[in-house]
């Protein structure tokens, strides 16, 4: 049983560019959440998708957007990248309340 998978593993972008990160949930899970983890801090909630709609959103600007597909996989898009967007981006899936995390995508913005 595959766990949560994310791609790519690492990504380097320059300021102003746009990026798309991908996540496939654990088998049987229908909910996907995205988190941003800056160096030395705990993960911060970005948003959650359920039934292909954004169910809840954290305190992140509109530059952060997402999508969930009918197979429950999800994308996180970030537009107009800033240096401060450099972080580890974590995807979590759930069926119920317990969340399981993927290995993350490390984004570096130069």
């Amino acid at each position: 049983d595959a766990g949560v998978t994310q791609s790519p593993t690492h990504l380097i972008k320059t300021r102003g560019q746009q990026v798309t990160l991908r996540c496939s949930p654990k088998s049987g899970h229908d909910t996907v959440s995205w988190y941003q983890q800056a160096l030395g801090q705990g993960p911060q909630f970005i948003f959650q998708y359920y039934e292909e709609e954004e169910r809840q959103r954290g305190n992140f600007p509109d530059r952060f957007s997402g999508h969930q597909f009918p197979n429950y996989s999800s994308e996180l898009n970030v537009n107009a990248l800033l240096l401060g967007d450099s972080a580890l981006y974590l995807c979590a899936s759930s069926q119920g309340t317990e969340q399981f995390f993927g290995p993350g995508t490390r984004l570096t913005v130069l």
Binding site: S33, Y35, P43, Q56, E98
Partner: protein, 110 residues
């Protein structure tokens, strides 16, 4: 919003020693999870424990929901236990998002 505080922030142990990590939270919760983040950034689920006591090998956890705290016990520590331990809670308002503490950084020396 709910506040999550973890202590101690840093902990250094000799291999074989026992330790207790604490998580205090400021409001009632639906969900409480303990994670171990390895050096590559992967968040590994340790316990899903909104209340009660659970044990898994050398690790055990207790959550006293009425007093708003949880404890993670590590016995006979090993060097592979090193990393950052996070407590995360979901507030009891169907908020769906996990709020993380700032973590306890554990180093186990051989």
């Amino acid at each position: 919003g709910i506040q999550v505080e973890q202590s101690p922030p840093d902990l250094i142990l000799q291999e074989g020693a026992n330790s207790t990590l604490r998580c205090n939270f400021s409001d009632s919760v639906n969900n409480l999870q303990w994670f171990h983040q390895n050096p590559w950034g992967q968040l590994i689920n340790l316990f899903y424990i909104p209340s009660g006591t659970k044990q898994n090998g050398r690790l055990s956890a207790t959550t006293v929901a009425t007093e708003r705290y949880s404890l993670l016990y590590i016995s006979s520590s090993q060097t592979t236990d090193s990393g950052v331990y996070f407590c995360a809670v979901e507030q009891m308002d169907s908020s769906y998002k996990l709020i993380f503490g700032s973590g306890t950084r554990l180093l186990v020396r051989p």
